[in-house]
Subunit: 472 residues, 2 copies
């Protein structure tokens, strides 16, 4: 049996603002020691899958590559790069088509979401084995989670009776209202739909053929007009956009008659809100989930999270059931009962065109990262990191000069036509309008402090003359 | 009638952590447009006082001078610099002795606290006029505030009946317990002791002579052994320490028979806690006191304060009656009912030897300020400001080299024996162990970005060769 992990890595994650941003969504958030995306990939590996398909937005290519590069034992990965979001129906259809042509139609696809948390990987492996056996026999498997509350944030799956054994699904229902969810819970016949699936490429493709033939045709065309560049499949915007925006549940699962539910015998969270992030951590005796150096007096049930980029002491006094998330450019203080409304905050900030909606405080680029340390009239101070072997574009600026001090690693600094090896503690000056380039020639990360001076310091004052990443 | 303002500028202000710190206490906090100290000085000026005596800790000399320098119309000031805290008894005795010798014994002293908030200056002036008339006739005047709650944080003054007229005080009592405070409130015979006084130097000195002769003798000796340097009076530690640590209330007011209460017809706050800071501001329709750019959803009665040194967006969701104070290095989230316990936070941080207890994020020096923008192994980035005409010491470092970029103003940078004029956008390098000095030769503030590189970056790696401020 050939096993393939398919990781769906999408979503804006606005409910986890300010830790997640449009340009830095949930899969890239660290929870525990690693990002949620890495945890999903490792979960697949633990189940014995060899290769990996990741379906993600093209804007997140470099973030995704970073995650893979940081893994000790990364799988062979193919990245399907969506030019825009088109829901899980097209994503899974494209993954199945790609799987069939790359690995064969009898390959078993384990479809995982990149923004779930599954603390007990062993229990997950046991459920997955059950799913693999059913998938091999041609079933479409969905992992169902026994509901513990009438949650209105999930789809529900009806069965004969919730049990510890797998069984045929009788009905899929979309996110219900509270009253309906309460009824479902009372009957004992419903699972939460986890959004994790398992099937052979052939089985899901014939289900598409039968229940969503137009979608499948559109997906085939999108794949036919796509470009394979290295390990990526890049779709053409128009052909991609012709696919309907529809979930796999609506397109296939609701209609197919060979859908089986494998009950999740593992703890699971879709990390859909700050309270669920808190729940996924082990609380202290007062029910708090917070770094050990927080000074918490008369504080219960409170979650505190501080960005590692701006370490600071946090004190809480006489507060209960709060969520406190501090980042260098944004602070959220919310009651856990209101945490679903974080999206409203993001909507308000969007209307104000506030950049904390889009950009994280530490901005990721293909070559590394940058973060603003201070900005005032006439100057800006940045901390820039460059990955080993990476290089910024050859560029110049119309309105600013730059002072560079290397503080870690080894750089090759090109100024005009001259190249200078530059080591920690050494300085280079980049005059106005002079072409320049920064390359990491060491084996470790390069860290540089940049002081920009000029009348205009926007990111758009950049003329790229050459670029490794095709951004000229 | 000669009128003198005496401003008592002391106190640790730990109840307003993290905005106030040991090295940056309450009088130097900005509330509204200016610092509390400046507001106290201007309050005195509004009452027609000419000269000014400030009694403060010697560590706060430069902060105090900064406040005076930033005033449009600063009074002639003499600064009595205490080598350590010794309560209001000695402070007022020393001020009275200094007043008598500098301006004459019949001078009327208006004794103000540097950490009070009095929004209605006109009403204050009216009360002060009443006090001046009584003081001229030899009375010891205390300003009494009509209590609005059984507050246990104030001393109380008993009179025949609380009224709008001044009258003789019959008894002073220290901070009572809650039950006693409730009784006081019920009788209608008690004022809160505001800690503001008015008397001639002669009147208070003869009251000391009669009720606290040992204190007066010790104060005389402390003044005799003091050094007058410019506009400062610097006390010798031993002689100063021989004064008893006692309040003016205990030492004199409780015992004297010519104490009059002038009722405060003005709004008054001792700004003793975050809720009182909030109360001093005009709330919005939801009872919130916060900057206009805070995103507040389902939020009431909440006070938000963000340091101007690290502007960020703050969002509050479903929270009520909180105090949220964010600074670059510390964040406090407290319920207003618990805000008195901020001192407990400070105590815990003291035990951890945490520097946010002592140092503010922006550190004030006689020549200007510095703030750390980023610190990691091997390097530190600082933003340094230098006042017009000011100069750092001529110094060198054993373990670090420094990169300087001037971003605002004009500097004279001495490196070794060479001096370089350095303008915005220009750079200077200070090698390891090389003597150097930074001087602001412009008329505006100088701003410099410094990148320190070295194995050890502590503030104590400094060898001063010459210093304008006597710190060699």
């Amino acid at each position: 049996m050939r096993l393939l992990s398919v990781v769906l890595s999408g979503g804006a994650g606005s409910r986890l603002w300010p830790a997640s941003r449009q340009a830095f969504p949930k899969p890239f958030m660290k929870l525990g020691d690693s990002t949620l995306l890495q945890q999903a990939i490792e979960r697949g590996q633990a189940c014995g899958t060899g290769d990996l398909l990741v379906v993600t937005n093209k804007d997140h290519l470099f973030l995704t590559k970073d995650v893979l590069a940081q893994m000790v034992d990364p799988p062979e990965a193919t990245l399907l790069l969506e030019p825009k979001g088109r829901n899980t129906g097209p994503a899974i259809a494209l993954a199945a088509l790609q799987c069939a042509r790359q690995f064969g139609g009898d390959t078993v696809m384990l479809v995982l979401s990149a923004d779930h948390l599954v603390p007990d990987v062993e229990a997950f492996v046991a459920s997955a084995s059950q799913a693999f056996r059913l998938a091999e026999q041609g079933a479409l498997v969905v992992f169902g989670v026994s509901p513990t509350s009438p949650d209105t944030g999930f789809g529900y799956i009806e069965v004969e009776h919730v049990s510890r054994e797998s069984q045929r699904a009788t009905r899929f229902v979309e996110k219900p209202d509270l009253e309906t969810a309460q009824e479902y819970l009372a009957t004992g016949r419903y699972y939460w739909n986890s959004g994790m699936f398992c099937f052979t490429a052939d089985a899901i493709l014939s289900a598409f053929e039968r229940h969503a033939p137009q979608l499948l045709t559109a997906a085939r065309r999108a794949l036919e007009s796509s470009q394979v560049v290295g390990q990526t499949v890049q779709f053409e915007l128009h052909a991609f956009g012709l696919q309907p925006d529809i979930s796999i549940d609506y397109a296939v699962m609701e209609r197919a008659d060979n859908v089986h539910v494998v009950p999740a015998k593992f703890g699971w969270s879709d990390v859909g809100s700050w309270p669920s992030v808190a729940k996924a951590q082990t609380p202290d005796a007062s029910g708090n989930t917070m770094p050990p150096d927080v000074v918490a007096i008369d504080t219960t049930g409170t979650h505190v999270q501080v960005s590692s980029h701006s370490p600071k002491v946090v004190a809480t006094l006489g507060v209960h059931d709060l969520v406190i998330v501090d980042t260098p450019d944004a602070l959220l203080v919310a009651h856990k009962d209101s945490a679903q409304s974080v999206k409203s905050v993001v909507d308000i900030l969007k209307a104000r065109r506030h950049e904390t909606v889009h950009l994280p405080a530490v901005v990721h680029r293909p070559w590394g990262t940058y973060a603003s340390l201070k900005e005032e009239d006439g100057y800006k101070v940045k901390r820039i990191t460059v990955k080993a072997g990476a290089s910024l574009s050859l560029q110049y600026h119309h309105q600013r000069a730059e002072h560079w001090v290397v503080v870690r690693g080894s750089a090759l600094v090109q100024v005009g036509d001259v190249e200078h090896q530059t080591h920690p503690g050494e300085y280079r000056y980049i005059p106005l309008k002079e072409k320049h380039r920064l390359t990491n020639i060491g084996e470790d990360e390069l860290v540089l402090i940049e002081v920009q001076c000029g009348a205009y310091l926007g990111e758009d004052d950049i003329v790229r003359l050459a670029d490794t990443y095709g951004r000229v």
